[in-house]
């Protein structure tokens, strides 16, 4: 077994070695596969490993590179895809028992994009059933079982991109693809001590991805650094005729070059994102804030506007998820879900009225304008990603992880980009994360601010010891 450090190299570093032919994509893939087979079950990280696909893609990458056809920074890089992305001929369970045998005969657009740039798919990452769209009370709400946090296996990874978080944190792949409707990239990234980008709504095609709340569903990378996220995002972003939710060609595409001179960012600290910081997180957040003040001279404080944003977001998700899972609800198969809340909550979701849904949509537009006004003065807003570290696996999430999350609501109903990066540890050695939120379409501002933070800190280079 090679030294552990190779499993924690960034995409950027792996790419340098692969391009210069110092690292073989086939060898890299094989050692990641071996590690995933050995440690994946410990964390319930994977739904399915796909060694045949991985080795075939790795061999093709190696052959291309040897012939001088290097395709860019993801060529030959192993990754995992959340198990709600269709991969032709491979089970796609959506993390839920009723879909245990579901197999699609086509690839999600994201999978095709990654294939086209030569990335190597190791397998499908486990997830919360239906990405939490039916409701859940416990971390065990998954057909694959509870995802365990590599920093402390008695703790949860957060959801719903739970396997994606565990895989990156445990060094089982170089990066993973996650999705977020509300919190599902940002929270696992924070709990697992990794970097995760929730892109602007509509920049990444959802074709071939499970629909939860179509007006809020987003797909994004989870990786080792903001820079890695940028490189992956550049590969998967873009308008797609197969997803009418994607934005126009000129606005959806994303290119990234670290050498491009960065613009001067106006950064503000959000002072009302959370009511309190608990579980030993206050100290690392205070230290991170001090670093930010040095990096972004004149960093001001700003408050989120008050309003029923969470109520609007919740209703939009409830109504849209009831539509997305109508056949599952009507058939009674939701009774097969693992979580007691997921077995019943969708019945209620079907009952909400069109007038209430329309009111939620009007409120969405109002808060969009309010946030746009804030982004006239600031490019990036910064706040703790979560006000707590990773929670125990057995915690009742309804009572133990229930706190107001106005930024999560606003960010997701407005489709704003956010990037969570590690910014310290609690005394129990659990990571905490900081989120950089930007205006819609200004993903590069969030990336640039987070990258600047990571250039002056080394939290993202730390990793758990896996033996």
């Amino acid at each position: 077994m090679p030294g552990e450090e190779i499993f924690y190299l960034s995409v950027t570093e792996l790419a340098k070695r692969i391009e210069s032919k110092k690292l073989s994509p086939v060898e890299l893939t094989q050692i990641y596969l071996d590690r995933s087979q050995k440690f994946g079950p410990r964390f319930n990280a994977y739904a399915t490993l796909t060694p045949e696909i991985a080795l075939e893609q790795a061999k093709a990458a190696e052959k291309d590179i040897k012939r001088g056809h290097y395709r860019g920074p993801l060529h030959g890089i192993p990754y995992a895809a959340k198990d709600l992305l269709a991969v032709k001929g491979v089970p796609t369970t959506w993390g839920a028992k009723p879909f245990a045998n579901q197999v699609f005969d086509y690839n999600a657009t994201v999978i095709d994009h990654l294939k086209n740039v030569g990335a190597v798919m190791l397998g499908k990452a486990s997830m919360i059933e239906l990405a939490g769209g039916s409701g859940y009370r416990f971390a065990s709400a998954s057909f694959q079982g509870e995802a365990k946090n590599p920093w402390d296996p008695t703790c949860w990874t957060c959801g719903s991109s739970s396997g994606s978080g565990a895989i990156v944190a445990a060094g089982l792949a170089a990066f993973a693809i996650g999705t977020e409707t509300w919190g599902s990239i940002i929270c696992p990234s924070a709990f697992c001590g990794i970097s995760g980008l929730r892109p602007t709504y509509g920049r990444v095609s959802r074709y071939g991805a499970m629909a939860l709340a179509p007006s809020m569903d987003k797909i994004g990378p989870m990786a080792r650094s903001a820079e890695d996220c940028a490189r992956i995002f550049a590969a998967i972003a873009g308008h797609d005729l197969k997803d009418r939710g994607t934005i126009a060609i000129d606005k959806a595409a994303f290119t990234y070059s670290p050498s491009v001179s960065s613009r001067s960012l106006r950064v503000a600290w959000l002072n009302n994102a959370w009511k309190s910081l608990d579980g030993g997180t206050a100290k690392p957040f205070a230290a991170a804030k001090a670093v930010l003040k040095k990096l972004f001279g004149g960093m001001k404080e700003v408050a989120l506007p008050a309003g029923p944003w969470e109520e609007a977001g919740s209703l939009i998700v409830q109504v849209e998820s009831a539509a997305s899972f109508r056949s599952l609800i009507r058939s009674g198969k939701i009774g097969e879900l693992a979580d007691p809340l997921g077995q019943i909550a969708p019945y209620l979701n079907e009952q909400y009225s069109a007038p209430d849904y329309l009111q939620a949509l009007k409120v969405r537009e109002i808060v969009q304008k309010k946030m746009d006004a804030i982004f006239e003065s600031f490019d990036v807003l910064v706040a703790p990603s979560q006000p707590v570290p990773a929670t125990p696996l057995t915690l009742n999430l309804e009572t133990g992880l229930a706190f107001p999350d106005p930024l999560g609501a606003i960010g997701n109903i407005c489709g704003l980009p956010a990037l969570s990066v590690p910014c310290g540890f609690t005394e129990k050695n659990l990571p905490v994360g900081l989120q950089f939120v930007a205006g819609a379409g200004d993903d590069i501002a969030a990336i640039q601010a987070a990258r600047t933070f990571q250039q002056h800190t080394d939290w993202h280079k730390r990793h758990p010891k896996i033996h």
Binding site: K251, K275, G313, I344, A345, K369, E376
Partner: protein, 139 residues
């Protein structure tokens, strides 16, 4: 850990729907629907740990719950029905807060999400057209 606040919806509530305990759980729906409001007032039904609901909201919540039970009641055991009642009470409180937020006809319907990528400032930064001198005042 974060504390629960009955007046504010919890994070990722769509996924978990906070577990407020409603006193209504101990009342049969029929009793609630038959209950007469106190003359001259709109009584709020205070539940032990759940949200305050007006009589009207309580009635609406019960109606919603009855619709669920009518359609799916045979699939649900008593514990699940009680759970749904708690969820319905919390959901009703959220609806009440949402409906109370003022909107008007000029607030667009946002029927699908179009991220606001074209800043309003582009419009506002356009120099205003100078008014001709001596323009007639609007009556």
């Amino acid at each position: 850990m974060g504390s629960k606040n009955g007046s504010v919806i919890s994070r990722r509530e769509f996924a978990r729907r906070a577990a407020f305990v409603s006193a209504a759980a101990s009342l049969s729906p029929a009793n609630l629907l038959a209950e007469k409001p106190v003359a001259g007032s709109v009584p709020e039904l205070q539940t032990p740990t759940g949200p305050k609901l007006s009589a009207e909201s309580q009635k609406e919540m019960e109606s919603r719950l009855q619709a669920v039970f009518a359609q799916y009641g045979s699939r649900l055991n008593d514990a699940q029905k009680a759970d749904l009642r708690r969820l319905a009470a919390d959901g009703q409180a959220g609806l009440d807060r949402l409906r109370a937020y003022p909107t008007d006809n000029s607030d667009g319907p946002a029927l699908y999400l179009r991220p606001l990528m074209e800043r309003e400032k582009k419009l506002s930064s356009t120099p205003p057209t100078p008014k001709p001198t001596g323009a007639p005042k609007k009556s």
